[in-house]
Amino acid sequence: MYPVFMAQWMKDKRKPYIILLFIGLSIIATLIFGDIDRIEQTTAMVYSTEPNAEAVEEKWLEGLNGHETIDFIISDKEEAHEQVAEGAIDVAIHLMENDYRLITSSDMPNIQIVEQYVHKVFTEEAQLEAAAGDGNTEKLRSELDSYLENPPIQVQTESIDGGEIPNYDMGMQLLFGFTLFIAMFTIGFKVNGISGDKVSGIWNRLILSPVSKTNMYIGHLLYSFCVGFLQMLIVFLIFHYVMGYDLGNLSMILVITAVFTLSMVSVAMLITGIVKTPEQFNMVYPSLIPMIPVISGVYMLPGTISNPVLQFIGDMFPLSHGVEAMTDVALFDAGWNDIALPIALMLLIGVFSMGIGINMVERRK
């Protein structure tokens, strides 16, 4: 077993580019697609050209500041226009006593968010002033604030067990989804090495040797496992420690990773058994694998796929279970009990696929 393992390693040691590429790809894909619903910080420059410019700027800035993702900075007209023209900032706001103008050079989604927000602040202020009439706006404002601190109706959302409902972080799901998905390729191509050895005649040499068949398979499969696991491990460590993502309980994530890898090695073995040659595998596998995350709903919010047939097909692959268990751990602090089912399902898939797969490979001649 050990020499078989080492021979695979020696082969790959000379050209580790594919694995490095896959690691890079996992991270880039997560960054590109995983950030869709995270709004970047937007900077907006505000200025006024009224005679009492400073007062106007101050008055509005107080109301405007308080948005999580938009920073408002006071500037002057020339500077602001220049920055927008250069594209250094996306938007500038020309403030007037009771009105505003947005200055921008493009129509990006974050500008709409700025526009909506500024509009809301101005409308509220206008309402407040209208309500105060000739009276004191400031007094009305503080009355309103203190009233709202103790509102007559209080709504609180609780999850079923009484805890808080965290926001579902789609980015985290995609992080796990992409990483596992791309690792499926690595695992598959390594498992396909068994077919390669069979075709080249190396397998026959091994059969004639004192090494047992079990050890020949274990050598290959263990290597596929290690490479797949290592790839995901590196990606997760980079996300967790370098890029500051909070993956939750990392050791649980890694246990799930290991079970997923085991299960996926088996599925790859099954596909190896179904196809006839390593070349066929190289055609079938890369066309089949990209469908799995789609069917498994990895790219969509949980519950989006309601077609029972698709759900069933998706559940036959370890990907959906792995991603589910990982998001549960990372987002909802799930314990071992909570992820027992997906882990058991992955192991079950693994046992079945491996059994059938090896049988089919052995029968083929």
Partner: protein, 310 residues
């Protein structure tokens, strides 16, 4: 010591190997000759326990190897027809891998690798990747990999197809030395008659899954002792003359060759006279005439109706 008894293999409908009996004595060098698809590789696979026979048996020292192949695997070295090596590894790394697989003891492995590399003449290229090797060099590594564990019996399946003369000579020399100096028993499969003539004490000729002839070189040649091969050069070619010769009673076959015709005929003293007369009648001169000593190639042609090389 190693023998097959009524060994047969049927793939679906096709009888690839049909009840063949082959034996190898200790220290012998035996050739297995046959055209493409004759069943040579299938026979070798069954002998080396890689393929289960449909019927018949393979015996090592009187014991069947089919139920328990562990004994035969211990004494056997097999050089497969294909290059069974990791192309992405160097020659040395390949041999190291197969040495480990064959459980060559750690202290001996390093020495043994250098020994077999020396035998096949690749010691100075051992650290280059196999995929950068020429076909002949790959074949030599392919052989080296089967020698690491000191096999008593070495089976080579067409080890010289499609390679340069230099590599070929090296391989033949290696096999000869193994047989003569180390007492290794050899089963050598080939398309090439002259290799087998050079290397082997005995020869089996296979065609369509059957052994059609066997014996020492002389025994095989005696098959043709009742026939003559006559090579004739003519002043010009003529279909009429060809027909006339074919019609002669003792003549078995007539082939046009690049520089005349070749006649295979039963031994018969009248043939020369008849030939001269027939040529005269057509106004053709016989410019060259030669009675050929039959070769194994002719035996092969006689038995299978096929030339050895396609």
């Amino acid at each position: 010591m190693l023998e097959t008894i009524n060994l047969s293999k049927t793939f679906k409908e096709k009888k690839a190997v049909d009840e063949i009996d082959i034996y190898l004595d200790d220290g012998e060098s035996v050739g297995l000759l046959g055209p493409n698809g004759a069943g040579k590789s299938t026979t070798i696979s069954m002998i080396s326990s890689l393929l289960k026979p449909t019927s018949g048996d393979v015996k090592l020292n009187g014991k069947s190897t089919i139920k328990d192949p562990s004994e035969i695997r211990k004494v056997l070295g097999v050089v497969p027809q294909e290059i069974a090596l990791y192309e992405e590894l160097s020659a040395y790394e390949n041999l190291h891998f197969f040495g480990k697989i064959y459980k060559v003891k750690k202290g001996f492995l390093e020495n043994r690798i250098q020994e077999v590399l020396d035998m096949v003449g690749l010691k100075d290229r051992q650290n280059e990747l196999v995929k950068t090797f020429s076909g002949g060099m790959k074949r030599r590594v392919n052989i080296a990999a089967a020698l690491l564990h000191h096999p008593k019996v070495l089976i080579l399946d067409e080890p010289t197809v499609g390679i340069d003369p230099q590599s070929r000579n090296h391989i033949l020399e290696t096999v000869r030395k193994l047989n003569e100096d180390h007492g290794t028993t050899i089963l050598y499969t080939s398309h090439y008659m002259e290799e087998v003539e050079q290397l082997c004490d005995r020869v089996y000729i296979m065609d369509h899954g059957k052994v059609v002839a066997s014996g020492s070189k002389d025994e095989l040649l005696s098959i043709l002792s009742s026939e003559d091969t006559i090579q004739v050069q003519l002043s010009k070619s003529s279909d009429n003359l060809l027909e006339a010769i074919k019609a002669m009673k003792p003549v078995r076959r007539v082939d046009e060759t690049s520089d005349g015709i070749r006649i295979i005929s039963k031994k018969d003293s009248s043939i020369l006279n008849n030939l001269v007369h027939a040529a005269e009648k057509e106004g053709i001169q016989i410019t060259h005439f030669q009675l050929e000593v039959p070769s194994l190639e002719d035996v092969f042609l006689h038995l299978t109706g096929k030339s050895l090389r396609d």
